[in-house]
C-alpha cells in the first residue's frame, strides 16, 4: 500500500511526501539470524558456551537489524525495529526456563507414568515399583478442604470490602490482606503447627492442619481476585436493582454475584492452582506416610509435593527408582495445575454474560 503510494509520489515529484524505502519482508529476521551466527562464531575461540552465544547473538543481531534498517529505512522505522527486536528477544529468553523445565520433567517423569503409579501406594515398597496413589488422593483431599475453608472466608471478605466496607476498618483489612499475601509459606505451616500443638500437644500431624496452613496462603489470593472482579461490576446495575426496591443484600446475591460469577470462578481456580504445589507448609503439618490415609483428622497423610521431596531426598536403595518416582510426581503435579488452568478458562467462557448478538 505505502510502497505504491511512494512510487506515485516519485512520479509526481511534489517533494512534500518523503519517499520511503522498505526492507524486504524477511530481511529483519535474516539479519538477526546472521547476527546470532556471527555471535556464535565469535565465542568459538574460547570454547562453545550456550550462555555466551545467546548474549553475543542477541546483542549483535539487534545491532545488525537496527543499523541496516537505519541506513535504508530512516530513523523512525529503525527505532520501531529496534524495540520490536528487543521485546521479542526478551520474550524468547523468558520462555527458555519454562520450555527447559517442561522438557526436563517430561523427559524424566514419563518413564514411570504408568498404571502402577496411579494404583499403588508406597506401602512395603523398597526398590522398584510403588506409586503415588496415596499422595494424589491426599493432595486432592487437603486441597479440597483448603478451598472449603478459603473460598467462603475470602469471598465474604471481598464482598465486605467492595459492597459494605468503608473508612478505617476497610483500609485495615485491605492492608492486612496485602500483608498476608507476602507471608512465606513455611511461616504459614509453622503457624498451623503451633496452633494445633496448643490443643493436641507437640509432634501432632493431621491433614486438616495442612488445609489450615494452605488456607492462610490461599485466602488473600481469593480476596484479591474476587475484590478486583466485584469492582468491575458496573455501578449502574446496582442502582438499577436498588431502584426496583430490591434490598442491598439481595442486590449483591442476585445481581452482583451472578454478573461476576465467571471472574469469581476463575479466581478461585487459579488460587487453588497456586496452593496445590506448596511443599514447605505440608512438610511441617502433614508429614509423609507410605500407606493410604484418607482421613484428614487422623494422623499423617501423603501429598504429591511432599512425596516428591522425600522420594528425591531419601530415595532408598538403589536410589534410581525413588528419583524416578519423584520426577513422575512432579509431572503429575504440573498436569494437575495445567488442568486447573484449563478449568479456569472454561469457567470464564461458560459463565460470561451473553451478549446475544
Amino acid at each position: 500500500m505505502s510502497t505504491s503510494l511512494a512510487s506515485q509520489d516519485t512520479g509526481q515529484d511534489t517533494g512534500s511526501v518523503r519517499v520511503t524505502r522498505h526492507l524486504p519482508r524477511f530481511a529483519a529476521l535474516g539479519l538477526f539470524v546472521a547476527g546470532v551466527v556471527i555471535g556464535a562464531l565469535l565465542t568459538l575461540p574460547s570454547g562453545f558456551s550456550i550462555a555466551l552465544t545467546v548474549v553475543y547473538g542477541v546483542v549483535l543481531g539487534t545491532l545488525a537489524v537496527h543499523l541496516v534498517s537505519r541506513s535504508v529505512e530512516g530513523r523512525r522505522k529503525a527505532t520501531d525495529r529496534l524495540v520490536t527486536t528487543v521485546v521479542t528477544s526478551a520474550f524468547a529468553i523468558a520462555m527458555v526456563p519454562l520450555v527447559s523445565l517442561i522438557y526436563t520433567v517430561l523427559d524424566n517423569g514419563l518413564g514411570r507414568l504408568d498404571s502402577t503409579f496411579f494404583n499403588s501406594s508406597m506401602l512395603g515398597v523398597i526398590g522398584e515399583g510403588g506409586g503415588a496413589y496415596h499422595a494424589i488422593l491426599g493432595t486432592v483431599i487437603i486441597t479440597a478442604l483448603t478451598a472449603l475453608i478459603s473460598v467462603p472466608v475470602g469471598m465474604l471478605t471481598a464482598i465486605y470490602l467492595v459492597e459494605y466496607g468503608s473508612g478505617r476498618l476497610r483500609r485495615a483489612i485491605t492492608f492486612l490482606v496485602d500483608v498476608m499475601t507476602g507471608i512465606p509459606s513455611i511461616v504459614a505451616g509453622l503457624f498451623a503447627y503451633a496452633l494445633f500443638a496448643i490443643f493436641f500437644g507437640t509432634g501432632i500431624r493431621l491433614g486438616i492442619m495442612g488445609a489450615v496452613a494452605l488456607s492462610v496462603l490461599m485466602i488473600p489470593v481469593v480476596v484479591r481476585s474476587a475484590e478486583e472482579v466485584l469492582k468491575l461490576v458496573p455501578n449502574e446495575l446496582r442502582e438499577a436493582s436498588y431502584a426496583l426496591g430490591v434490598p442491598k443484600w439481595r442486590t449483591v446475591l442476585k445481581v452482583v454475584i451472578p454478573t461476576s460469577i465467571a471472574g469469581l470462578g476463575t479466581g478461585v481456580t487459579l488460587a487453588v492452582a497456586r496452593v496445590i504445589g506448596e511443599t514447605a507448609p505440608l512438610l511441617v503439618t502433614v508429614g509423609i506416610v507410605t500407606g493410604t490415609n484418607l482421613n484428614p483428622f487422623d494422623g499423617r497423610m501423603a501429598t504429591l509435593p511432599v512425596f516428591s521431596y522425600y522420594q528425591l531426598t531419601q530415595p532408598g536403595f538403589p536410589p534410581e527408582f525413588g528419583i524416578d518416582r519423584a520426577w513422575t510426581a512432579a509431572l503429575v503435579l504440573i498436569i494437575l495445575v495445567m488442568a486447573l488452568n484449563v478449568v479456569a478458562r472454561l469457567i470464564s467462557r461458560l459463565f460470561a454474560p451473553k451478549t446475544g448478538r
Binding site: 446495575l237 442502582e239 436498588y242 431502584a243 426496583l244 426496591g245 430490591v246 434490598p247 445481581v255 451478549t355
Partner: protein
Amino acid sequence: MAKRIDVSDLDIYYGNFLAVQGVNVSIEPRSITALIGPSGCGKSTFLRSLNRMHEVIPGARVEGKVVIDGQDLYGADVDPVDVRRQIGMVFQRPNPFPTMSIYDNVVAGVRLNSTRMKKSDMDDLVERSLQGANLWTEVKDRLNRPGSGLSGGQQQRLCIARAIAVEPEVLLMDEPCSALDPISTLAIEDLMTELKERFTIVIVTHNMQQAARVSTATGFFNLAGVGQPGHLVEFNPTEKIFSNPEEKATEDYISGRFG
C-alpha cells in the same frame, strides 16, 4: 395509582458540600414534569432524592421534606427500600441486567424481591409491561434472548418496562433519551405521553425541545457559580416557561444566551 409530590425546603448535601438548596415544589399527579438546567446544577441530584436513591452514594444526605400523598419519605420509620418500590427510576444509560433474558429483565423487580407469582400471571405481567413500553411486538418472539443483545433504544424501553412492571406510583427518568437516536427518542416520548395516564412522571432532560414537547410543567435549575449550591429558579406550566418566563435567567437559558 399516581401520586402527588410535595417538596418543601429541601437541601441536599454530599458530605459537607451543599449541592442543592431550598427547593420548594409541588408535582401534580398524572402529569409529566420536566427539569431543565445547565450541567452540574443539581437536577439529577434532586431527582434521585425523590426516591432516596442518592443515599446510595456515601456521605449523601438531605434536610427538608418530601411528602408523597401525605407520607413523608424521610420519616424516621420509612424504609428506603419501600420508597423505591413505590417510585421507579429509569437511568441515563440503559442498564438491563446482562445475566438475564429479556423476560427475566422485565420480571426482575418481582423475582429479585422473591414475590411468589404464578407462571401465567408472570407471563401476563411481561406482556403487559412490554406493551406498556411499546416493545412487545419487537421482542415477543425472542423473550429468552439476553437483554443486552437489543439496540440502545430497545434496551432503554426494556428498562422502562422493567420499571413499570413493579407498578410504581411515580416514575423518575434521568435523561432517558440522551444516549439515543431521534427515532428511539420519539418512541420514548410517545411512551411517556401514554404512561402519563397512569403514573406521575418526572424527567430530567438537556433537550429543551423535549421538555416543551412532552411536559405539562417545567422546573428550571441553575447555580450562582462554581462551588455554589444549585437551586430551583422557576417552576411553572411548560407553556408559560417557554413563552413568557417570570425570571430573566430562565429566559436567557431557554433562548441560548446563557453564560
